[in-house]
């Protein structure tokens, strides 16, 4: 069981991600934007962060950058959830220190497969 932080401003996406991961036995903490996620990250360790890109207040790219400055998150896998199939967002994410990405739309099985891959 892993501690996973799921960040998305869309409640339905959060709900889907959380439900799926909880069903697989993980502990999921939800945040609706980067600012909230960062606050949570400062008080708790996570094994994996899944973050949307486009969010109010602080987007996923900025969140990734911020997380990488925290000692606890230096090597933590951070996956960017993005609908942009174009390379720019993935590259932005990578440049900010993200581990990888999951392209939306994805279904629960695809999400689980990727998470399993990353967590080992």
């Amino acid at each position: 069981m892993a501690q996973i932080l799921a960040v998305d401003d869309s409640a339905s996406m959060r709900q889907m991600v959380a439900f799926t991961l909880k069903g697989a036995g993980h502990d999921v903490t939800e945040a609706s934007d980067g600012t909230q996620a960062l606050t949570l990250a400062k008080s708790k360790k996570f094994d994996l962060v899944l973050s949307d890109v486009n969010m109010p207040n602080m987007d996923g790219i900025a969140l990734t950058k911020e997380l990488r400055t925290l000692p606890d998150f230096k090597f933590t896998p951070i996956l960017i959830l993005t609908t942009e199939a174009g390379a720019d967002k993935k590259q932005d994410g990578k440049a900010a220190g993200a581990t990888g990405w999951i392209v939306k739309p994805f279904n629960p099985d695809q999400l689980l497969a990727t998470v399993k891959k990353v967590l080992g």
Binding site: A11, S12, N54, M55, K94, N107, D109, K117
Partner: protein, 709 residues
């Protein structure tokens, strides 16, 4: 694991509708040429979420449509495109269109595909209208961009993998990649630590190792690349097929991957890495081929889900509810303890306990009611858009002012008040506000104002719709009323009475019937709808200055503040809101009009007396006016005095519908059960007045009221 996506659709639809409202309000505030980043970003994000969720939850039509909108917005956001009026209008139409699609998704009906197709064509046209713009070349997820080369299958691959020192700091674990490689076939690895520096120079977070691996198994170059796709730019990676290349056999995996395309790939490029079945296939990835394809859900399933409506509740409200229940439990245990060994000495304690129970119950009731309360901004939010559209249509200039948007009222009342409000605002736009030239002539600013205001007053919510337009022409109304035979010629009517004629059935003063108002759905329907909610509507107007429509509604439909009154053996409930005052009758103030009606002189006003025992055919204590009490009530803008035997307590009563349990009865709005278990009927004041006046002619009643008003 099979996960039913249906459960998330309700949330998706709700959040998308909210997103659309948000888009709409920001679009309405957006000026052509604007560079308001916050607003544009907010609009973009909303479209982006709707598109993303649409694709995820199986609404491909919504997702495809919104994709174009999103692309345009993205260009605007990146400064590649100007905000034009045309774009704003198209976006606003798109908002409506997506709203329809969502409604269809919710209700399971057929959406108007032609409208969205047409709109999409217009958006596409806008998209290519910009010469600098290269048509969207994004591969949709699932479109395999792999070159034929990458699809070729070899049975043995040599892989040289040398991470850059910083790769680990992106959270990518080398072990993960080799584990995945091992799943593709038989893997042999050799680690090279030649570059490992001396311990003193070693950066603890850096990677100095490189690997050489041989992979034996039926897989494509792409399968292998897929594993390293996240670290492409953070390593040196050389993959070569071992000399004995087999390219003609084992087409199997290629075919499979083609079949898999509708299930879009996790990593964008393709599905191969996940779904290809090789000798060492991963069982965990197999189910994804068959399950959870939301597109396949039937309409019926969708419908079943959509019908349950839900409400968002502030967490504070829930907390206070839980708090309250806690106190109730304490009171209950206290009382049951008292009951176990009760003797008369402890009566005082019992009284205290019961008092506490009463308080708990009342507080609990109030907080439960508060859960159903939502701010009126939900109803107000549609007006900026409506005014915007109507201004274009009429060539009028109108500024909308909203105040008191946070005033809360019951969700059911809110849902039902929407249409009457729309009608009133349309009327204000159509009949009230003048065209800019006419306004200028009258010495008014060219831009008119429509003001929506809401506030609480007693147990009611009051909504005022004020315009600074032409006002209501009383002469014109009177003429029309006489023409229609609603009023006899030569009768003097007060200004207020004339204005009230607007609410008579079939009354329209529109000289020309526009498609906005004057469609035959008149003010009488507005009043009827509002009355059905237990509310009232009236109008004040001054020629040349404007009009004000005031709507009064109960905060909730479930509970009513009532005055209990007694007539003979029966108890009736009069809604407290309709009571003006109660008084003892002095015979000198009673004027009887022979054979028709009795009037009571209340200060400088004459009001008809309604003897309730007559109206309900029951036996009173006394038939004499002086022995009873007169409850002065107001309903439909008309006052009347209800004769009762006695006034009892005032209390909140829970309304039970007569219609569902029995049938509709004129003069009664419902029933309730009193503390002693008896049933009491709730008076519909306007109805009682109407019923009692059924005996006297309509004209006389207007006349009688108009005399001294």
């Amino acid at each position: 694991m099979a996960i039913d996506m249906e459960q998330f659709k309700v949330t998706y639809i709700e959040e998308s509708l909210e997103g659309l409202d948000n888009m709409e309000s920001h679009l309405l505030n957006l000026e052509p040429g604007s560079r308001d980043e916050d607003a544009i970003n907010t609009i973009f994000r909303a479209a982006h979420s709707i598109k993303g969720g649409g694709a995820t939850f199986g609404f491909s039509n919504i997702s495809e449509f919104t994709h174009v909108v999103e692309t345009l917005l993205d260009q605007i956001r990146n400064g590649e495109r100007e905000v034009t009026q045309q774009a704003i209008d198209l976006f606003l139409e798109s908002v409506d269109c997506v709203r329809d699609m969502l409604a269809t998704a919710q209700g399971g009906g057929q959406s108007d595909a032609s409208r969205s197709t047409e709109l999409k064509a217009q958006l596409d046209a806008l998209l290519v209208s910009d010469e600098n713009f290269q048509p969207d070349a994004h591969p949709m997820p699932g479109d395999s961009q792999a070159s034929p080369d990458e699809q070729s299958i070899a049975s043995e691959w040599n892989i040289r993998f040398k991470p850059f020192p910083g790769m680990l700091a992106t959270g990518n674990d080398v072990v993960r990649m080799f584990r995945e490689l091992a799943e593709l076939g038989e893997l042999h690895t050799k680690v090279n630590f030649a570059e490992l520096p001396a311990l003193t120079d070693l950066g603890v977070e850096d990677c100095y190792l490189s690997w050489e691996a041989t992979l034996k198994g039926q897989c494509t170059l792409e399968d292998i690349k897929e594993i390293f796709v996240w670290v492409e730019d953070e390593c040196e990676l050389v993959i070569t097929a071992a000399p004995s290349l087999e390219s003609s056999d084992s087409i199997d995996s290629k075919d499979r991957s083609t079949d898999d395309k509708p299930v879009s790939g996790i990593n964008g490029a393709s599905d191969h890495g996940v779904n290809v079945t090789t000798a060492a296939a991963r069982p965990s990835s197999l189910p994804s081929e068959n399950k959870s394809k939301p597109q396949n859900k039937t309409t019926a399933e969708r419908r079943a889900n959509a019908e349950s409506s839900s409400i968002r509740v502030d967490i504070d409200k829930i907390d206070s509810l839980i708090n309250m229940v806690g106190e109730l439990v304490i009171t209950q245990s206290m009382l049951s303890q008292l009951g176990e060994e009760f003797d008369i000495e402890r009566l005082e304690k019992l009284r205290d306990g019961l008092g506490q129970l009463e308080r708990n119950t009342r507080e609990l009731q109030e907080s439960v009611m508060r859960i159903r309360m939502i701010p009126i901004s939900f109803a107000f939010n549609r007006f900026p858009r409506m005014i915007h559209d109507l201004c274009n249509k009429f060539g009028k200039k109108v500024q909308l002012k909203l105040s008191g948007e946070s005033t809360e009222l019951d969700k059911t009342v809110m849902e039902k008040i929407g249409d009457p409000l729309v009608h009133l605002v349309r009327n204000a736009m159509d009949h009230g506000i003048e065209t800019p030239d006419k306004r200028a002539e009258a010495g008014k600013p060219e831009t008119g104002t429509v003001h929506l205001n809401a506030f609480h007053q007693g147990g009611n919510i009051v909504i005022e719709i004020t315009d600074d337009g032409a006002g209501i022409n009383a002469d014109k109304i009177l003429k029309k009323a006489i023409q229609r035979g609603l009023v006899e010629e030569g009768i003097e009517l007060s200004q207020a009475r004339i204005h009230d004629l607007l609410f008579q059935p079939g009354f329209s003063t529109a000289d020309e019937i526009t498609d906005v108002s004057g469609r035959g759905v008149g003010m009488d329907v507005v009043r009827k709808n509002i009355q059905a909610l237990g509310g009232t509507v009236d109008v004040q107007s001054t020629i040349g200055k404007g009009s004000k429509f005031t709507v009064r509604l109960p905060l909730t439909l479930a509970i009513l503040d009532g005055q209990l009154v007694r007539v003979g053996d029966h108890t009736y409930i009069i809604p407290l809101v309709s009571i003006v005052e109660s008084l003892q009758v002095h015979n000198k103030n009673v004027n009887a009009i022979a054979g028709k009606a009795e009037l009571y002189k209340l200060r400088d006003e004459y009001i008809p007396i309604v003897r309730l025992y007559e109206a309900f055919h029951i036996e009173p204590d006394s038939r004499s006016l002086e022995n009873g009490l007169l409850v002065v009530v107001e309903g439909d803008g008309q006052k009347a005095g209800l004769l009762v035997d006695d006034l009892l307590a005032q209390q909140q009563v829970v309304i039970k519908s007569l219609e569902t349990n029995f049938r509709r009865v004129d003069g009664l709005s419902g029933a309730t059960i009193l503390g002693d278990g008896t049933v009491a009927l709730i008076l519909d004041v306007a109805g009682v007045i109407r019923v009692s006046q059924g005996r006297i002619s309509h004209h006389d009643s207007i006349n009688a009221n108009g005399v001294a008003a």
